[in-house]
């Protein structure tokens, strides 16, 4: 993947950590998936590569449809208050990404830029889940991590297994579908998709 595309993915990832509107964040992770699709398709040399690229696109668009449907179905009566300010979230995300980049040695991907982008996307996903209160953003945090892993798969020096790649796409779809069911039920039960209301189970 070109350096520009990799850094574009990282910049979009940081948006998921900071933006307020759920639909914007859905658009961002979908754009990431489509960039990954474009890159995968442009580097495809075999039929298996093309199938894997198409699977990435289907996953991206499919998830967007599901999550946007959820957004429309579970409109918040008032905005969920952020427990950590957007700038602080961005600072945390960048700090974690830098720390991990410093800690993790050369991974062996095609380029060091790709490696840094993968680590940054995983870090941003973790921070999104940890600091964002709306349950839907927590789903998007998981998708962000998976986008980072998709980038890692595209940047492997040798061909990876198509079956495993398709399996990852399928599994992520299953997990997001299960999460969608629970987001919907949580909204129905608590009147909001605010994860702060999920605090009755404490020891």
């Amino acid at each position: 993947m070109s350096g520009t595309a990799a850094w574009l993915l990282v910049a979009l990832g940081l948006l998921v950590v900071t933006v307020r509107r759920r639909s914007v964040a859905v658009g961002v992770v979908t754009t990431q998936a489509l960039i990954l699709f474009g890159s995968a398709l442009s580097h495809a040399t075999t039929g298996a590569d093309v199938v894997a690229a198409v699977a990435l696109a289907v996953r991206g668009v499919g998830l967007a449809v599901v999550v946007l449907w959820l957004v429309a179905r579970t409109r918040e009566s008032r905005a969920v208050r952020a427990s950590v300010a957007p700038l602080a979230r961005a600072g945390l995300a960048v700090a974690l990404a830098l720390l991990l980049t410093w800690l993790v040695p050369r991974i062996g991907l095609d380029s060091r830029t790709d490696e840094r982008a993968v680590i940054a996307l995983v870090a941003f996903g973790l921070v999104a889940v940890a600091t964002r209160r709306p349950t839907l953003f927590q789903i998007l945090g998981i998708v962000l991590v998976e986008n980072g892993l998709a980038l890692a798969a595209l940047s492997l020096p040798r061909a990876s297994s198509l079956a495993i790649e398709l399996g990852v796409v399928f599994d992520l779809g299953l997990v997001v579908l299960a999460a969608a069911v629970f987001h919907d039920r949580i909204f129905a039960e608590f009147g909001s998709g605010d994860s702060a209301s999920l605090r009755s189970l404490r020891d």
Binding site: G125, E146, V175, A179, L201
Partner: protein, 487 residues
């Protein structure tokens, strides 16, 4: 096709087809179909375990399928626990209300998802490469999360959400570790992820170590090892009791097997002692976190959940010490923990019917109000506490002795103290739970008690048999094969 391959195919196909049939069949046959197929599925699992344990020196090792002694043991545990979980499920469904789906779809959804979960779970120990193992573990997350939140109550939804998000993130981290390993193996395709290929990682020791740590931390989130265990008490507590049994007695050890296989596979690249130290670290951390909770009065299922954290810690110590004594301890611990923990969760259904307050409070004096239930709860808790002559006492002694044998005296000594403290906490709870002061209020007849009484008798026999064979296991070919790992 060999016997092992044929049985493996049947083991996956039968419950998978049943999940589909149950999802589509007319409502009146759903329960009957689910119950009818459970027995053959359990039988195939035991038969496959028999094949795996019969020829210890020649395991089936392929790119996608592995049938070896370790996998055989796990398949037997998952098969039997799954069978009983299906059989006791009607008592749960009849004695509880509400679901995450509409009432008319409640039973169908429950059995279809339970079978899907069981299918994937049975496949985990048979996965021939780390990529397939990851896929299967991730698939268990989706299926089991639906079961954890099945009641649809607020607390269950919270538990399911935590479980889904934390384990998915953890598995994302594990997948990053797998990608790192894949980049370092000088092969392409799925062959790069086979257990044997991992030993050939050539990207340097530091990279291999980072990959191993990422993989293990990710798997730890699913195994419930501290400090990434936060979902475990909530999920075990809020899931339907038969599902809690599967989660604790089958899912956690199945993922632990994947961690064990990864450790053995990466030992040449990372260093044997280093890979084992990481496991010992997780084991000790889990004991440190679990033991204080074993001293607190707690709702029955929640207590069992913290006990799972403790016992997964013991298993981590055992495979980390990796001496014949420790591995013999692991074998006994695996079986005895499954029997005792599953019995404890199965007893929860009649217990909650008998005393609904037990859902949120510590149980006291159950042996005085319902002796048969007291026997089930007492047998489960006595075993989990490590009370002699029960097998977890034997296995813990073996694991600790294995720690000294492995030249890790400090780790073994700390574990000894922690296990002694855990024992005292659970022994106190055992007394309070079974013969403590009776709670005032009217006790209701316990639904499903007859089945649990039968299970108690059967469990007692199995547990005593395990305790009897435990001390002799360390000198057997089985333990040698487990230490060697895959050829």
């Amino acid at each position: 096709m060999t016997n092992a391959q044929a049985l493996s195919a049947a083991l996956i196909a039968v419950p998978a087809l049943t999940a589909c049939v149950v999802a589509l069949a007319p409502g009146r046959v759903v329960r009957r179909a689910a119950l009818a197929v459970a027995v053959p599925t359990g039988a195939v699992a035991v038969a496959l375990a028999g094949v795996a344990l019969h020829d210890l020196d020649h395991p089936t090792v392929g790119t996608w399928l592995v049938v070896d002694p370790a996998g055989g043991l796990l398949v037997a545990v998952i098969g039997v626990v799954g069978l009983v979980s299906v059989l006791v499920s009607p008592a749960y469904l009849d004695s509880s209300q509400g679901a995450v789906v509409r009432e008319e779809r409640r039973e169908r959804t429950y059995f279809a998802v339970l079978y899907a979960f069981w299918t994937v779970l049975l496949a985990v120990p048979l996965a021939g490469n780390v990529g397939a193992a990851w896929l299967l573990i991730e698939a268990t997350t989706a299926a089991s999360a639906l079961l954890v939140g099945f009641s649809g109550k607020g607390r269950a939804l919270e538990a399911a959400w935590k479980y889904l998000v934390l384990t998915s993130l953890g598995l994302g981290v594990a997948l990053l570790g797998i990608a790192l390993l894949s980049a370092g193996v000088p092969r392409s395709g799925v062959g790069a992820l086979s257990w044997q290929a991992l030993a050939t990682v050539s990207s340097g020791r530091d990279t291999a170590l980072v990959a191993y740590l990422l993989l293990l931390v990710g798997l730890a989130a699913k195994i419930g090892w501290a400090p990434v265990h936060n979902w475990l008490p909530d999920a075990h507590c809020e899931a339907p009791a038969p599902v809690s049994a599967l989660l604790s007695a089958a899912l956690l050890p199945a993922v632990l097997l994947v961690a064990w296989r990864s450790q053995l596979a990466l030992a040449p690249a990372v260093g044997l002692r280093t890979t084992q130290t990481v496991l010992v670290g997780f084991g000790l951390a889990s004991l440190v976190v679990a033991v204080p909770f074993l001293w607190r009065p707690m709702a029955w299922k929640r207590l069992l959940a913290y006990s799972s954290l403790e016992h997964m810690g013991v298993l981590a110590l055992g495979i980390g010490f990796a001496t014949p004594l420790a591995i013999a301890g692991v074998v006994v611990h695996l079986g005895a923990h499954a029997v005792a923990k599953a019995l404890g969760f199965y007893a929860a259904t009649p217990l909650l019917a008998h005393d609904p307050r037990a859902a949120g409070h510590a149980v006291t004096g159950i042996g005085r109000t319902e002796p048969r239930l007291g026997a089930a709860v007492g047998l489960s808790l006595g075993t989990l506490a490590g009370l002699p002559p029960f097998p977890l006492f034997v296995s813990e002694v073996l694991v600790l002795a294995g720690g000294f044998q492995a030249d890790r005296p400090w780790a073994a000594a700390i574990a000894t103290v922690l296990l002694a403290l855990g024992f005292l906490g659970l022994a106190h709870t055992l007394i309070e739970t079974t013969v403590g002061k009776r709670r005032s209020g009217r006790a209701v007849a316990a639904a499903g008690l007859r089945g649990v009484t039968l299970l108690t008798a059967g469990s007692a026999v199995v547990l005593l048999a395990l305790a009897a064979v435990g001390p002799w296991l360390s000198r057997t070919d089985l333990v040698d094969a487990l230490i060697r790992g895959l050829p």
